[in-house]
């Protein structure tokens, strides 16, 4: 793998950048792999990378029907945090957070992970209780999280309206200072480049049309472009298509796919160097290194695979942002788009074995997918390598929807963005 560095840039600039290597190959698939990962998004690529790096399994293919990182990986609002409530999810997302730290160096690809802090504003006593509960839990779980009062908050974020006269005055906030943003495309590309360098075949524009299942056991995948490709184990990391894949395998999931919208303003001079989320007025915002205000909108209430939702959601979100940041009223919205989130009833993901032997699913991340990418890949790789879940992943089995051991993250944290 060609090493990236400032000196490299200088060197290449002398040769007019004509000698840069390809970041990944374009292989034609082999007849058989030890592991096939369906889905070339952040989670699939991370899984492939850790399979090769941590478990030495390199006879691996990632099969992507479109292009790498073309799904939710490039459609999210790039927020990374680990301050979840329950021990199980806190452990999961903190595992991910620790992989985020140092990821750029590990991949030799600058994923621009910026630990600029994430604030959850509180607008009611109920909000305050929920966040104080969260902070207290996180501290004992070994996750940084703290409360700040409205006065302190106003100092830290001057453009945020912390006055008493708004409809739902801000009473305080919890803040995880290690949390922040990362460059979403770079995460997918960085993992892809590193996985490819370790020998993983990244097969783009290859659509899986069926799963080859013999007496309850998966033995390969049927693709539109290359026919059947055999595999000992198959892992699905296809956010937005989990239901479709499950249908191929002949079972249903406790998952519904909904449009999740986001939008950006035009680039303006940075005035917000952190991330602010309000579950009560339903809006959250950060400002990218390009100057765009990156704003997350709500989830549409109905199943939708169209990568677009309803305009009403955009209206409500922008109303919330103007309520929180009155100075944005004359700023202009540039572009909106939508992703497809696979939402579980308890707002926690599934990393699990399935009714079909050797077939494993990693899905249902809801709005937690991006921040979970490294951890998800790391744990799913463990599952695929050993045929059983890593202790951190165990609670996230499909089984919990039968025995009732749910990990309900919206109960306490409102909308679990």
């Amino acid at each position: 793998m060609q090493h990236y560095s400032g000196f490299g840039l200088l060197k290449h600039s002398l040769s007019h950048h004509e000698n840069w290597q390809r970041v990944w190959r374009n292989p034609t698939p082999k007849k058989k792999y030890d592991v096939i990962i369906i889905g070339g998004g952040g989670h699939g690529l991370a899984t492939a990378y850790y399979l090769a790096k941590e478990h030495g399994i390199t006879n691996v293919a990632v099969i992507e029907k479109g292009h790498l990182g073309g799904g939710n990986a490039c459609r999210n609002t790039t927020i990374v945090r680990s301050n979840y409530l329950w021990d199980e999810s806190a452990a999961l997302y903190e595992h991910s957070m620790q992989l985020w730290e140092g990821l750029a160096q590990e991949l030799n690809y600058n994923v621009m992970f910026s630990q600029r802090g994430v604030y959850h504003t509180c607008h009611t006593l109920q909000d305050m209780r929920a966040n104080e509960r969260l902070v207290a839990a996180n501290r004992l779980q070994g996750i940084d999280n703290e409360m700040v009062d409205a006065e302190q908050l106003q100092k830290e974020i001057p453009t945020l309206d912390c006055s008493k006269n708004s409809r739902y005055p801000i009473l305080g906030a919890s803040v995880q200072r290690r949390a922040g943003n990362a460059r979403h495309d770079a995460v997918a590309w960085g993992y892809a480049r590193a996985a490819d360098a370790l020998g993983v075949d990244l097969i783009q524009s290859c659509e899986v049309v069926d799963l080859e299942v013999n007496d309850g056991k998966v033995t390969g995948v049927k693709t539109k472009q290359y026919g059947v490709i055999k595999a000992d184990r198959v892992g699905c990391a296809v956010a937005g298509n989990s239901g479709v894949l499950a249908k191929m395998a002949g079972f249903e999931l406790p998952v519904e796919s909904h449009p999740l919208q986001a939008l950006v303003s035009e680039p303006i001079k940075p005035f917000l160097d952190t991330v602010v989320m309000s579950n009560h007025v339903h809006g959250y915002m950060s400002q990218s290194d390009k100057g765009d205000l990156v704003i997350g909108a709500g989830i549409d209430g109905w199943v939708g695979y169209g990568q677009r939702g309803s305009y009403g959601i955009i209206e409500h979100t922008i109303q919330a942002i103007v309520e929180l940041f009155p100075c944005t009223s004359r700023v202009r919205m540039n572009r909106q788009w939508g992703g497809i989130v696979d939402a579980c009833p308890d707002a926690s993901p599934i990393i699990s074995e399935t009714p079909v032997k050797n077939l494993f699913f990693n899905c249902g991340w809801g709005t937690g997918g991006f921040k979970g990418t490294p951890g998800s890949g790391h744990l799913f790789a463990h599952t695929l390598a050993n045929g059983k879940a890593h202790p951190i992943a165990e609670p996230f089995s499909i089984k919990r929807f039968h025995d009732g051991a749910l990990i309900d993250e919206h109960g306490a944290a409102g909308v679990a963005h």
Binding site: Y4, S5, G6, H16, H17, E18, W20, Q21, V23, W24, R25, H67, D87, A91, Y109, N110, M112, S114, L125, R129, E132, R133, L134, A136, L140, Q141, G142, E146, R167, Y168, D185, E266, I268, P270, F271, V281, D289, K290, G306, R308, S310, Y311, E315, I318, V322, E323, P326, C327, T328, S329, R330, V331, R332, M333, R335, Q336, R400, G404, L406, D408
Partner: protein
Amino acid sequence: MTQQNRLVSGGRIDRSETLTFTYNGKKYQGHKGDTLASAMLANGIDVVARSFKYSRPRGIIASGAEEPNAVLQLGATEATQVPNVRATQQELFDGLVSASTNGWPSVDTDVMSLVGKVGGKMMPPGFYYKTFMFPESLWDTYESMIRKAAGIGRAPKEHDPDTYDAINQHCDVMVVGAGPAGLVAALTAARGGARVIIADEQNEFGGSLLDSSEQLDGKPASEWIRSIVEELSTFDDVLLLPRSTVNGYHDHNFLTIHERCSDHLADIAPVNSVRQRMHRVRAKWVVLATGAHERPLVYANNDVPGCMISGAVSAYINRYGVVPGNELVVMTTNDYGYQAAIDWANAGRTVAAIVDTRTESKGDRAETARQLGLNIITGSAVIDVQGSKRVTGVSIAPLDESGTKVTGSITKLKVDTVATSGGWSPVVHLSCHTGSRPVWDDSVVGFLPGPTIQKQLTAGGINGQYETSVALQEGLDAGLQALTNIGLEAVELVLPRVEQLTMTAPMILFHIPHIKPTSQAPKQFVDYQTDVTAAGIEIACREGFEAIEHVKRYTAMGFGTDQGKLGNINGMAVAAKALNKTIPETGTTVFRPNYTPIAFGAITGRHCGGLFEPERYTAMHKWHVEQGALFEDVGQWKRPWYYPKGNETMQDTLNRECLAVRDSVGILDASTLGKIDIQGKDAREFLGRVYTNAWAKLGVGKCRYGLMAGEDGMIFDDGVTACLAENHFLMTTTTGGAAHVLEWLEIYHQTEWPELEVYFTSVTDHWSTMTISGPNSRKLLEKLTDYDVSKENFAFMDWKAATVAGVPARVFRISFTGELSFEINVQANYGMQVWNAVIEAGKEFNITPYGTETMHVLRAEKGFIIVGQDTDGSVHAYDLGMPWAVSMQKPFSFIGKRGMQREDCVRPDRKQLVGLKTIDPNVVLPEGSQGVFDPKAPIPMPLVGHITSSYWSANLNRSIAMGFVKGGLDKMGEKVFYPLADGRVIEAEICSPVFLDPKGERQHV
């Protein structure tokens, strides 16, 4: 300062009205009818911006929404600042203040440009992914540097003084674009009796006709436009919206239109009027007549001020009477390009040459050019440009047939303006918003709207039809088709005569070769605003970013505020060449709302400030305000939180209110509790199915507390329900849960048990509810009613119809405080007066109004739960230690029964709600504190449950708390430790949550 580029006559500007505007602190003049851009060009302003990455000087390229460079900061005051306004779309008004956004010390002399020159080579696409990684610790520093360079304009620091509006519209036919095609389509539909809306982003209707010197019926186009607009305005059912951009085309023919009502008049809207208005349109049929954008050609140094697209040159001359230079060279791949030269020559300025990349053109426009004696160089191209802040000359060289390489020697020409035309790109943006992908068409050399399920028609330029005569015909056809589709009769309409010009086929060429390979040639810009060059795209492809989406994301092509209107197609062509694929093979381009940017304020409309969300008030709200109550937001309700007196602290107030209730009597406004009237012979059965406890035997005149669970067994609401009569009940719910509970009852009735005879009606707002609580509450009530409210006649958990303060009331003897309590319900129109009467009568008992906080303390002293505070959707009745509220014997398997019996729900070590007494009675545990059994355990510590409710109890003169503890119900007397943020570890003992009057004697007196 003189407008040196202004023609003495011609154009659609009003020379009699001179307007003064400011650019970068300097005053200039323009005329009514100018855009900021045309006025700047009239004044000979060349440099309007510095480029994002390389800080190169940039000038105005286009005349409309596609302009990438002239993006300015507007606003005369801090509060009225608007970032990133496109000068080509901003009408000039007197006193307009504008400024360029980048460049230090000024946009004309920018020191960063040196960095750009030197460092530019170090900044290929994605360079930041490849560096700033070492040492890891420095990333924050690197990033703050990057952020300093970020952004174009800036947000204001003060609150927006303007108001915005949104209005909903419905129509049969929505016509987007008021060019020749759109106007005819609209008129056809209108004459047929359709309800029509026609919107155009420009200040006046006419579209391309406004920019050209074309004649219709032998008269100037403007006269035809006027006649059409005049007729359209005579129809009641036609809405004409100039200055209105259709920004989004959403599912089921829902469109959003952004109307600028006052941005052309002043910085701030006139009194009582709105600055901008969103129209939310639901249309039966949509006619897209959005026209086309001209493509510039990609050639070396094509960003030097003075390089423009040829259509824009014509527009500035014909519409604004401005010639943006003196010597022009035109480079074109098609006949349209000639028009700029013709208009330029007719304006009396020098055309140095027309450089046609084709071997020849026999078209009418070329013929006209020849007759004007213009110098036409064929089979050649402008391969390079000289000059930095303004074009000083160009290099012209012959190309091979395919246009891929330079074949001969270079001739230099001295010019100050370069106009190029690479053909036109249909404006298919809106047709893509609902997921339809555009389709490449070789004959059009562009993308056309793809198949869609929307009820959509298209006409004119969007179909690749750029001749006025054809556009008019397509407009007519679209109008007629729309009429037929909605079942209306067509009415005849005669189209104007337009000269049909002959044309020679265009050459398919996007990227002009240089004598050096692209990687070594001077920068050839594809996307100006994001500084994406042809070389950059080649690098991306070379590195393996082959999908067009990869190319765009890696290079940032199309991510500017113009969203690649000029650059995307050229970029795809360059990528296609690099990957040696055709353009369709390379991919297609998707567009998303907005077509052009919209102020957040406009989308917010009136839903801001005091109208962001409703504030719900009870009938006694005014009284609470007058008493100086502080309020708690509960759902949308404003509930009195506590009533501070003098300089009491909050705790002082709570102590006073709490003691008053236990010692004498207090009064609470409980009107916000949800109330549902339930009638029908199966009402009782229904209650039995939706509550966890039994209702079969509840007698008339009796009340009972009930818990409501979901099918998963988890508690989501609770409340007291009274049996008013055999078939008639009144259910109360939590304040926040009222709407949800009503819908919950309805969904089960409508979808699962329609056979049950029962009706539910919300009466939350109908009743004013005031709770008088405390040992003196009976004495107080006696003063207000003749009804016998003695213990004997009015038992605990009974309700009675009685007249209170002269008003018929329903009085419930129920208690949430554990004291003797009466809940008086009267028709809300009488609430205020009855409340006053109670307060008056209560004076002798020193009646004390108390708010939600005191209510919470009092109920906690009794161990009563509050759903939402002591529950979080993950606990069932047994977790709450309320088995008495569950009746497993009920014949019908009530909602929640099966759920709460799942494997995980019957674990003995579940977190259970218990009382907690701190060992130090003076310490109040913070709510939310997390408990552990072993305070010495290493982090992460095993958490055993959190504190849900915790208060100082003035009555018990100690702190009290409720919280969850793993297996807590079997751990009475055991210790739990709460390590706090400040390092303290609070020790508490598990106890019953009933801290006061465990026998319940006080409420039974």
